[in-house]
Structure formats: C-alpha cells, structure tokens
Amino acid sequence: MGELLRNILQESPFLLIKIPIIILLLLYISYTFIVMRQTSIMSKIVEIDVSQTVQLLSLIHFLTSLFLLVYALIFL
C-alpha cells in the first residue's frame, strides 16, 4: 500500500496539492449552498420586489463554486 502510494506520488507529485484543493473546494461548495438556502429562507421571511434578484445572485454564487470544482478536477 505504502509502495503503491509512493509510486503514485513519484509519478504525479501534484496530487499532494490537488487533493487538499479539492477538499477545500468541497467545503466552499457547502458554504455557498448554505448561503443559497439561507437567502431563499430569508427571502420568504421578508419578501421584497428585489428578493428574486438577491436569490439569483446567491444561485450564481453557488454555480460558480461548482464551476471552480469542475475546473480544478479537469485542468489541475
């Protein structure tokens, strides 16, 4: 197992950087999801005519974090 890991890291040492990046991005996605959920809940508590714009902004925020994860998985 140790030998296999050593071989992988010798072949692709960047994995040592990439795996923590992916973990951090997953945490960031969970954060943006919470922001989106909270925005949706608060928009129901206080409904203003611009609430939909605010909800759209938080949705874009969430989708951007997903895009960043996909970018990291494909290009790094």
């Binding site: 950087i17 960031y28 909270q38 608060m42 129901k44 206080v46 203003i48 005519d49 951007t64 960043l68």
Partner: protein, 214 residues
Amino acid sequence: MPDIFTLPDSNKTNSSPPDSPKDHPKTPSSGKTGLFNAFSFMPQNMHFDTQEPGETILLLLRRHWITNISWLFTGFLLLIIPIFIFPLFDIASLFPAFFPSSFTSFLILTWYILTASFLLTEYLIWYFNVAIVTQERIIDIDFAILYKSISETRISRVEDVTSHTGGFIRSFFDFGDVFVQTAANFENFEFLAVPHPQQVVKIINQLMGKVEEG
C-alpha cells in the same frame, strides 16, 4: 406632520390603506425598496412572514449605506490587487516544475471568485438585517449566514423610544441608533446606524400616541 396611520376600524374592511407615501413629500425614499435602500417609508410590494391581514408596513430600515464602506473598500482592494501584483512577477516561475501550467489561471480564478463571495456575503448580511415598523408591531431581524434572530413586539408594549446620533460622520450623513424600550418582561430593540433616526422616533411616537388614544 400628517397622521401616518389610522387604527383599523372594525366597521371597515381592511382594504382601505393608510395615507399614501405621496402625502409625505419630506419623507426620504418613500415606497422604494431597492437593492441598496436603507430607509423606506411605506414600502410597496413588500410582505413579511408573520404579517397579519390588513397590517400595513410603515418603515423598512437597514444600516445606513455609509456603514458598508469598509467592506466595499476591502472588496475593491481585493479586486485590483491582482491587476497590479501579477504583472510584477512571473507567477508560474514561483511554483515547482511539476505544477501544471493551468495552476496560475486557477489561482487567479479562485481569487476573484472568493472576492465576489466575500462581497456577496457582506451584502446579504446588510440586506437581511432589517427592522420593520408596522401599524401594530415592531419587528427586528438580525441575520448572519449561520444565524438569524427575529424579535417582535406590539406598539402597545413600547414604553420609550430614543435616538442617539454622535460624531461627525453620523451627523453629516444623518444616521444613528434608535432604542426602543418595552415593558419590563419584554425584549428591548436596537436599530443600529439607521438613517434619519429622529424621523423613526417621531413615527414610532406617533404610533404609540394613536394606540393610547385607541
């Protein structure tokens, strides 16, 4: 100042609204509920969760926009830093050879997305921290991303309303704190850094007077 509301008459239906905002030409931001509005008198197209039928919203308050300057400035700095810093260095040369060439673009992308995230979070915290004054109640909503607290009290329970405005910036931009003291067993309310605090006090006092008369 004309009456800002009328007590609901049991003989009338609830369809008759109080005075229109046009009756209060001196009141700033009458009826407007924009993305950056901190003081809205009789906001139109607005409802809240526990609003009772016929209950009219008189005031929607947020912190004065000037209180957002610190995070707006920080956001602005974060946006322009890469423009000045990145041309000075060859960023790619700072990383070991085994780093992929796309790592630099990933870093720049992450920087801007995190900056946008910071700006949006600060904006949402400002936007959802509101105080609502209706004909019958005062509602205070405190919001942070992982925390929210909603308190409310009846106007009839309000005992005293005071406003504090101190310092050059607050006097210049006409904003300050409004403290609403309620009867002993009920929670007190603080509307911090709201625009036109004297006007808020005047409106709440007028509501208290109407409730006492009623």
